[in-house]
Subunit: 377 residues, 2 copies
């Protein structure tokens, strides 16, 4: 089940609402990533407290650990990880792609050795749909091949990107067929590929739209390309997707990228950046980014962001967080992850509010002004 | 400030109440250990939620990181780490003792190289009192030498233990003098030493009692001795301490040790076991201990302990915790630490309730019966 209502638009930016089997999601939305059935270092209750409405799970990882037997026994991922709201799972395509040399791609699917125990595994569109049916995620992603920015040391050529895009299209049809055969009650999204080539993106999009899927994603960005290339595709593809269906830009990005994405008509985002950067002492704030490891924070009694209402900012100083990081104390990444995710989730809340009030452009100008101020002034 | 009221006794077991500068502590009590100004992997709010009334800080570690300048700037450890209830700090004696070969003990104090940056440091009773005054902990421990169970490869002899105990006594007087000179408004505890020799313990105790300190600890246990030796000292020393003052058994121990300690007249306990064991997948439950890494938990839908009300047991299965541990996910030790600390804190709450109702002996029999049942049946 998926219902999408477009509540308001401003330029290409959209304010919408998604109804899924496990609840309602207001868009534009940021989805925290919970690879192994846990958003790293964050309790599900903390995600609820910060207002997260939907999180991600990774099909590839969950297939390997804990495996389908356990997930089937629990009736899916929701009960296993203690998250009762909507969930999206990727298809595993990006992860097997990331294995590089260790995998072999054919028309049928991708053969690879498990990085956990060396088992020989074969992931196909059908298997991906079967796994995601067991996971019972509200949004299922088609199995695709992520077209790399570089192929064998050179920039991926148009013929290479076309071959990859066309393979993803055939896998989209097989994904759709298997999804239907399984009578999965959730929603399947198609993924536009085509590398850095606008023409291929348009062909991919047109063919996917014919499949009449309930939502569409833009894949194959954040794969090592320069920022300008990413922005070029972000400006090109999302607004061409069907207006009455949700649009998801995969794996993006910085706060600035998200704001730009919304302006380009994107409704849904996911990225490991808030949690991964938190673990490295890189904090996002309204007034710019802050590197916790910098010695200047050693005696700084201010919270990370005085305008932030998260538990880390409500209770702790930069000096304390700097100390935790220096001592390798687990509470450091715990608090930093909560803060960064709270920042991302709250950023999208502010965007939704600005769209509700017809003030997105003014909000966007203030956002850039605030971010440029610097967190240390 | 320290006021101690003895509310009730049953045999040697005591139900009491401590009033300290930062609040009230009901005894018998277990104090979670927060070495570097954080109970590892646990938010201060979680400690409040589970009912922890007092936590520990380690003078030695905090002296090295973040250092006195930062702690002085924050007006002490409470504001720095976001914990407003009572706090006890050790003297650093045990930690410098743990450095082994790297330290040199003289009458004046202990000279050692900082394990963090190699700086040459000199910890004396006076310095320990000065650090603890900056920390502003509610309970300050005297600087002592922890008599080892073995000395240079042989069991510590009585003359060796006597020399060590007498040094600790002289350091107790110097600690008291410096504590008074600093006009520290908190409470100083003396530490009974004497190794495994009852006679020495009695001499140490008698001399410390002459100092009329507001509380006393039994130190030099949990230093590598066999369990029977520890139990022998636990049966010997605590009940000989002044009845109208709080008694603290340092660094002990398992749930069974705590119950035995209460029966021997101990009021206060601290131990790293609940948090350290949690990080290694060793969980304490009412029905015995549970090794999370055991493959049998892979599909177990039950919580760690069905009788436990902690957030880990309320929301998650053994199968999920097993999975988190296997994947090295931070949420694993986070949930396990909350559970183990909740178990320890709640154990003491049950003991206090049993003492209030005059039913400690019956409670104790049931405790042993339940713990022997096994967590897997």
């Amino acid at each position: 089940m998926l219902e999408f209502s477009l509540l308001k638009t401003e330029g290409q930016a959209r304010r919408g609402r998604l109804r899924l089997n496990h609840g309602v999601v207001d868009t534009p939305v940021f989805m925290p990533v919970g690879t192994y059935g846990t958003v790293k270092g964050v309790m599900p209750q903390s995600l609820l407290d910060m207002g997260a409405e939907i999180i991600l799970g990774n099909t590839f990882h969950l297939w390997l650990r804990p495996g389908l037997d356990v997930l089937r026994q629990f009736g899916g991922l929701h009960r296993f990880e203690g998250w009762q709201r909507p969930m999206l799972t990727d298809s595993g395509g990006f992860q097997v792609w990331s294995l590089g040399e260790m995998r072999k791609i054919s028309e049928e699917g991708v053969r690879f050795a498990s990085p956990v125990n060396g088992d020989k595994l074969f992931l196909t569109p059908e298997v991906s749909m079967q796994i995601q049916a067991v996971l019972n995620s509200d949004i299922v992603m088609q199995f695709d091949e992520c077209t790399p920015y570089q192929t064998a040391g050179h920039l991926t050529t148009e013929p290479e990107a076309r071959a990859s895009m066309e393979l993803s299209l055939r896998w989209a049809r097989r994904s759709r067929d298997e999804f239907e055969r399984l009578a999965n009650p959730n929603a399947l999204f198609g993924i536009v590929q085509g590398g850095m080539f606008e023409g291929l993106r348009e062909e991919s999009l047109a063919s996917l739209v014919e499949l009449e899927l309930p939502g569409y994603a833009v894949g194959g960005v954040s794969v090592g390309e320069p920022k300008e290339e990413m922005l070029r595709i972000m400006a090109h593809t999302p607004h061409r997707l069907p207006a009455h269906k949700p649009r998801y830009l995969m794996g993006v990005g910085t706060p600035e990228d998200l704001v730009e994405g919304v302006a380009c008509g994107v409704d849904m985002f996911d990225c490991v950046m808030p949690t991964r950067n938190a673990r490295n002492g890189h904090l996002f704030t309204r007034f710019g980014d802050l590197r916790l490891r910098n010695a200047r924070h050693k005696t700084d009694e201010r919270p990370i962001d005085p305008s932030c209402s998260c538990p880390a900012c409500a209770g702790f100083s930069r000096a304390y967080l700097h100390h935790l990081d220096r001592c390798g104390e687990m509470l450091g990444p715990m608090l930093a992850s909560i803060h960064n995710l709270h920042y991302y989730v709250n950023l999208m809340r502010e965007i939704r509010q600005a769209l509700d009030e017809g003030g997105f452009e003014a909000w966007r100008a203030r956002f850039h002004h605030d971010r440029a101020r610097g967190a240390d002034t």
